[in-house]
């Protein structure tokens, strides 16, 4: 059907709006590059890994301590949150009676809705002192991992829940006809069928964990050194930016934008892989 004149004008207007929305990502990348450039053009990128330490004011830009803190925290949180989240989804789908499942799903939704700063506050005032009793100082990689786990668990649970709900009824009936036990059905039929949902849920959760700032900043201790144990205070890439942006100038500021670029790169890779695993996804 051909478009009328008004339609064409409206379409053009909408196109401008959509173009603006689409350009924001490029604008973000452009400004990250622009602000990083002052530093990137003086130092080779290897120095971010080979310098002695992170002392940007003295011209030392080693980001590996922060990078490893981010990776350890993300890895730990995903290792904990993936089984817990998957178990929560299984509970909803196959174990809880409908009413209880609805209540539990709502609770997971509420958990997802708590702002990160509140998780951080709770972690700092409740969890960190408890862990400090176990092994001082309390604010540590472990505390960060636990809080992150709590934050990304709903992402895993809700995504896997949706994936499990899409398991065909025919498979469920066939499993019942074959006399499979509940766990036999879950491990042999449901989880394999929903595996792309499991993968994309876990990856999305990992993306959230990498990008999370406030909660980790508040509970992980913020010492910019290489972590050697779970009880060491650590500083993630995101926390580093949040802590130092307030007073950073010149090359120091540029170095923070470089770590922003690094974060962006990590998240882009994850988004790409997650998309490859699962076509249908919502912005959890």
């Amino acid at each position: 059907m051909s478009l009328s004149n008004t339609d064409r004008q409206l379409a053009a207007l909408l196109r401008v709006g959509a173009l603006l929305a689409a350009v924001i990502v490029l604008l973000i990348l452009w400004f990250l590059f622009k602000e990083s450039w002052a530093l990137l053009r003086q130092v080779t990128w290897t120095r971010f890994f080979t310098d002695a330490s992170w002392h940007p004011v003295a011209g030392l830009y080693r980001i590996t301590p922060m990078l490893s803190a981010t990776l350890y925290a993300t890895l730990g949180a995903v290792l904990l949150a993936a089984p817990l989240g998957i178990a929560s989804a299984l509970f909803n789908q196959y174990y809880a009676p409908p009413l209880l499942a609805a209540v539990y799903r709502r609770l997971i939704g509420l958990l997802a809705g708590i702002p990160s700063v509140v998780y951080g506050f709770w972690g700092l005032t409740t969890l960190a002192p408890l862990i400090g009793r176990l092994h001082p100082p309390g604010v540590s990689l472990l505390t960060g991992i636990l809080i992150l786990t709590l934050m990304i668990l709903p992402t895993v649970a809700l995504t896997v829940d949706a994936a499990l709900a899409a398991v065909p009824v025919a498979s469920i009936r066939s499993a019942a006809a074959l006399g499979l036990s509940r766990w036999g059905f879950i491990s042999g039929v449901a989880l394999p069928t929903a595996r792309s949902g499991l993968a994309s849920g876990t990856l999305l959760a990992a993306g959230r964990a990498i990008g999370e700032t406030m909660a980790v900043l508040m509970v992980a201790g913020n010492v910019a050194g290489q972590p050697h144990s779970l009880f060491d205070p650590v500083r993630t890439l995101t926390a580093n930016i949040a802590l130092e942006m307030a007073y950073a100038t010149g090359d120091h500021r540029a170095a923070l934008f470089v770590s922003g670029l690094v974060l962006m790169g990590m998240v882009l890779v994850l988004v790409g892989v997650a998309e490859w695993f699962g076509k249908e996804r919502s912005y959890v």
Binding site: G17, A22, I28, L32, P83, F91, V117, T126, E212, M218
Partner: protein, 275 residues
């Protein structure tokens, strides 16, 4: 068989564990925060770096930041959603590019939005640390969520409406304004509310864009402290601020709970998937 029983036990244990952690967190906040909550707490200015007094100016700043975010992102988001859902053939290059770019935008960490907002709005556009900078930064951040939800809402609007309108010779713009948008209204409102909820929970993107100042803002170009930033500042930088931080956290959670509950019920009524 014992494997089956073990699995049942473990899975139920996880459900109990998650539920108890949730109530542990909530009880902690209520025990410490509830005694501070009172009428004056909502209107008084904060005193002594927030240790005493209320959160009046902070609520005003938060509301203004959210207002800026929504007023700017809503038209842009609605335009994009309408274009993607009504004016783009499935699989067209432009549509695919826009969608891909929004997917990436949805994955950008909030602190990176903060960096961008600081470099672009505060410095490049010269808006400084202000409510305007913070709101515009949040507008960029919530755009993907807004567009996705609004688009889903439009797609659920019955196709018969489009066909009937075309058969009657209505222009697409008329069909849009008279049929599709009114029909999708609950979904569009849900999209807006979800976006407000997301923006209200944000901290990292605001610290370096709208700033820390906890006075009552005079204009949109003043720095204003959002509720979430207030909680952060009280618990990290102010010794003895924990009780007021708990109270502020309760207010924030309550606010988000109301917003999200309305959004969810609207969305459910409209049968669209919400995050």
């Amino acid at each position: 068989m014992s494997k089956n029983a073990l699995a049942t036990g473990l899975i139920c244990l996880v459900a109990v564990l998650v539920t108890s952690v949730f109530f542990w967190l909530l009880t902690d906040l209520v025990i410490h925060g509830l005694p501070r909550l009172s009428g004056p707490f909502f209107v008084e200015a904060s005193q002594n770096a927030g240790r005493s007094g209320g959160i009046g100016p902070i609520i005003v700043s938060t509301a203004l930041i959210l207002l800026v975010a929504i007023v700017t992102s809503a038209p842009l988001g609605l335009a994009t959603a309408v274009l993607l859902s009504e004016f783009t053939r499935p699989g067209s290059l432009f549509g695919r590019l826009v969608r891909r770019s929004l997917d990436v935008l949805a994955g950008v960490p909030s602190i990176v939005f903060g960096l961008f907002g600081n470099a672009f709005f505060c410095i490049y556009l010269g808006l400084g640390f202000s409510i305007l900078s913070g709101g515009l930064t949040l507008a960029c951040m919530v755009l993907p969520l807004l567009i996705r939800t609004a688009e889903q809402g439009l797609q659920v609007a019955p196709n018969d409406y489009r066909l009937a309108a075309a058969a009657l010779g209505m222009s697409r713009s008329a069909a849009l304004t008279h049929l599709l948008l009114p029909a999708a209204m609950p979904a569009l409102v849900a999209a807006l509310l979800l976006a407000i909820g997301r923006a209200g929970a944000e901290t990292a993107a605001l610290v370096f864009t709208s700033g820390y100042v906890d006075r009552m803002p005079d204009s949109l170009l003043d720095s204003g402290r959002a509720l979430s930033v207030h909680i952060y500042d009280l618990s990290m930088n102010v010794a003895g601020g924990d009780a007021n931080a708990s109270a502020a956290a309760l207010v924030l959670i309550g606010l988000l709970l109301i917003i999200n509950t309305i959004a969810m019920s609207l969305a459910k009524q409209w049968r669209i998937a919400t995050p």
